[in-house]
């Protein structure tokens, strides 16, 4: 074949442009002759010498890939980007593939087919049974069985019922719901209409945060289009079932992601939670039975109706079925949004899908479930990701945030960061959350500033326990998780801060010092860049940092070309 290729290249005058390299083997078990063409890296298999002229003609001259010999490495048409192994796309199946502002694109992907099936062939009981059998659990974080929730709302007395979609995604760094609403809004709408039919609701609301203007815009376009062709409104698809949907926009409060606070906000009241029971399924929006689910939960519904409960239940673990989207962020190579089957291990998520830790550093911890989740250290890497396992490890599934931290992260500082967030977002209705989170933050601030005292750890532990058990809603009940989990897994770091006034990860500013070592060439760059003129020294002589004046901004370390500035603690 090599001869045939050389001849062909010479014949077409390409020999100067194309370099032919011989290699031992490309595939493990080659099917016929094969070759790889660079720079594209196109891999052809099953070739014979007779095929060479054709390949040269098509590929080298016309720049067209010859499909029939192509090895199966190229992504197929329905894969969005580079295929990430271990990903399974159910909720995100249409994202990046269809035009979210065109309902026809969604219909072409079998959109609203499930709704048609439900309205023409299924009773509400059958719909609920199928959803229950699928094992789908709430994707907002608590993990309650979706079918059961619908059953409660359906069984609740009363003629007027409501359905709500919780799209108030407030966790820092999480954008699972935004992706679905922006890229495939009709899947959520379809899921909501099916749910409304199942519980007997005639009116629904999507509560979306104001920080997602594009999601709101596309939702409204989608609603308008669905209404125009009779998929919303009176007598949907010619049946005697009528339903309509509206978008309500949040005003920026994190606590409005909590269901009772969310409903209060829709009613036009101040967004504060109230005690449960009564649960929304019995007494929800305007005192009427209400079903409230997360965006991702609804987006799963059309697929469960179309492909069956057994198909859905075939993915995941015994108690946690299906797939889950996660927003991986932090010190990980490929940050972004992924969808994986539940039961996958944290290691697979971080290393196989996430591509491992940035800059070849070591893994330190992963925080799952947003600001109310716990930080899990490396012994938990092989733990399966499902509702029960995460709960027992002291973290939560949450709505799917996942923050990966490398060895340079100070866990006390991280706990402080999340506490700062929850403390700020506490609505203030109940005392444990309002006052307790603030007390915790004050102690953490003190520890990070080097003023930690003996007994601080014990006080923190007590506060965490009290806030957890006495707070009104999920925000307060979950807020101590980052502190509790870091105290449990990284206690030594707290002790180093308190007893030795040392930050082992060299992060906390008041506990670190910068020093110039012998590698210094006396180039003056650091001295010139220091904002407070704390560095002195003659040209070509070792420079010195005055620790009193230094504000620990770290600029000298960044600008030094000789790694002569070091941090110590």
């Amino acid at each position: 074949m090599i001869d045939a290729l050389q001849d062909e290249l010479v014949g077409r005058g390409l020999i100067d442009e194309v370099q032919v390299l011989e290699t031992s083997h490309i595939s493990e078990q080659p099917a016929g002759l094969e070759m790889v063409i660079y720079p594209e890296g196109v891999h052809y298999i099953g070739l014979t010498a007779e095929d060479v002229p054709y390949i040269v003609d098509e590929h080298f001259l016309k720049g067209r890939v010859v499909k029939r010999f192509l090895a199966k490495e190229k992504p197929s048409d329905d894969e969005l980007g580079p295929p990430k192994s271990k990903e399974v796309r159910v909720v995100l199946r249409n994202c990046g593939k269809i035009d979210p502002e065109n309902i026809e694109d969604y219909i072409l992907e079998d959109g609203y087919e499930a709704l048609g099936k439900v309205l023409s062939e299924m009773t509400p009981e059958q719909v609920i049974e199928q959803v229950t059998n699928s094992g789908l659990r709430g994707r907002g974080g608590a993990g309650f069985s979706t079918g059961k929730k619908w059953q409660f709302a359906k069984g609740a007395p009363g003629k007027v019922k409501y359905i709500i979609c919780n799209a108030d995604e407030g966790d820092p760094g999480a954008f699972m719901n935004r992706r679905v609403l922006e890229s495939d809004p009709h899947s959520v709408i379809e899921g909501m209409i099916i749910a409304a039919y199942a519980i007997g609701a005639a009116q629904g609301y999507v509560y979306c945060r104001a920080e997602y203007p594009m999601a709101v815009k596309r939702l409204n376009i989608a609603l308008k289009q669905a209404r125009a062709i009779g998929l919303l409104g009176k007598n949907i698809l010619g049946s005697d079932y009528s339903f309509d949907l509206e978008v309500r926009i949040g005003a920026g409060a994190f606590v409005c992601g909590e269901e009772t606070a969310l409903m209060a906000s829709i009613e036009g009241k101040r967004g504060e939670p109230r005690p449960r029971p009564p649960f929304p399924a019995i007494q929800g929006l305007w005192g009427k039975p209400t079903n409230i689910n997360n965006v991702e939960t609804y987006a799963n519904i059309p697929q469960i109706i179309m492909q069956g409960a057994a198909w859905f239940a075939s993915m995941g673990t015994e108690k946690s079925k299906g797939t889950k989207t996660f927003a991986i962020a932090g010190d990980v190579q490929n940050s972004g949004l992924i969808e994986v089957p539940l039961g996958i291990t944290l290691r697979e998520v971080i290393y196989d899908v996430g591509g491992g830790i940035k800059d070849n550093k070591n893994f330190k911890a992963v925080q799952t479930g947003g600001p109310m989740g716990g930080c899990l250290p490396s012994p938990y890497l092989d733990m399966p990701v499902d509702y029960e396992s995460l709960m027992s490890a002291g973290s939560i599934m949450g709505s799917g945030g996942m923050i990966v931290m490398d060895e340079d992260t100070c866990m006390v500082d991280i706990a402080r960061f999340f506490m700062d967030f929850t403390q700020d977002e506490s609505c203030g209705k109940c005392t444990p959350c309002r006052v307790g989170t603030r007390r915790i933050l004050e102690i953490l601030n003190r520890i990070c500033d080097g003023d930690g005292r003996e007994g601080d750890i014990e006080t923190l532990e007590m506060l965490c326990k009290q806030i957890k058990t006495t707070s009104l809603c999920g925000l307060g009940q979950g807020a101590p998780n980052p502190v509790e989990s870091t105290l449990k897994h990284f206690r030594a770091e707290y002790e180093a801060h308190i007893r030795e006034k040392r930050c082992p990860s060299k992060v906390c500013r008041k506990l670190i010092n910068y020093k110039i070592v012998d590698a210094c060439t006396g180039c003056l760059v650091c001295a010139r860049n220091c904002p407070v003129n704390a560095i002195s020294g003659q040209r070509r002589q070792l420079h010195v940092i005055d620790a009193e004046t230094c504000i620990r901004c770290g600029i000298c370390e960044q600008v030094c070309n000789f790694n002569a500035v070091v941090v110590w603690s």
Binding site: R179, G230, L237
Partner: protein, 121 residues
């Protein structure tokens, strides 16, 4: 036009499919630009504008430009995907307006993949 039954929905789907097929058969090349928040934040609007400009200045009549939602490759936004004929979709990453023009020239017009801009797999 309101749809009155599942059959009518399916009819609508068939019509949509036909429409798509006719538009696609008139287009030699499809250019897809994901326009979600991450894409737009990274500059997908400028990229799209550059693509449309280049279609205008080069007078291309057989190129279809489509928008979609988020591509799932936030780190590589703005993304541009090019499909020439029935060849596999090629995904380009970090496509600035300038790079978009280059892709239009070399891949869309010249039918030669701009290998160095392809998102690595």
């Amino acid at each position: 036009m309101a749809i009155k039954s599942l059959d009518e929905l399916r009819k609508l789907k068939e019509q949509a499919l036909k429409r798509r097929e006719t538009t696609q058969s008139t287009g030699r090349v499809q250019v897809i630009v994901p326009m979600g928040t991450p894409g737009i934040a990274a500059g997908a609007r400028e990229t799209l504008k550059a693509i449309l400009e280049s279609i205008e200045t080069e007078n291309l009549s057989d190129v279809i430009v489509r928008q979609t939602g988020n591509s799932g490759l936030d780190e590589w936004e703005p993304i541009v995907q090019v499909m020439v004929g029935d060849q596999p979709k090629v995904t380009y990453g970090k496509v600035s307006a300038e790079r978009a023009k280059r892709i239009m020239k070399e891949h869309v017009i010249g039918e030669k993949i701009v290998a160095e801009l392809v998102v690595p797999q």
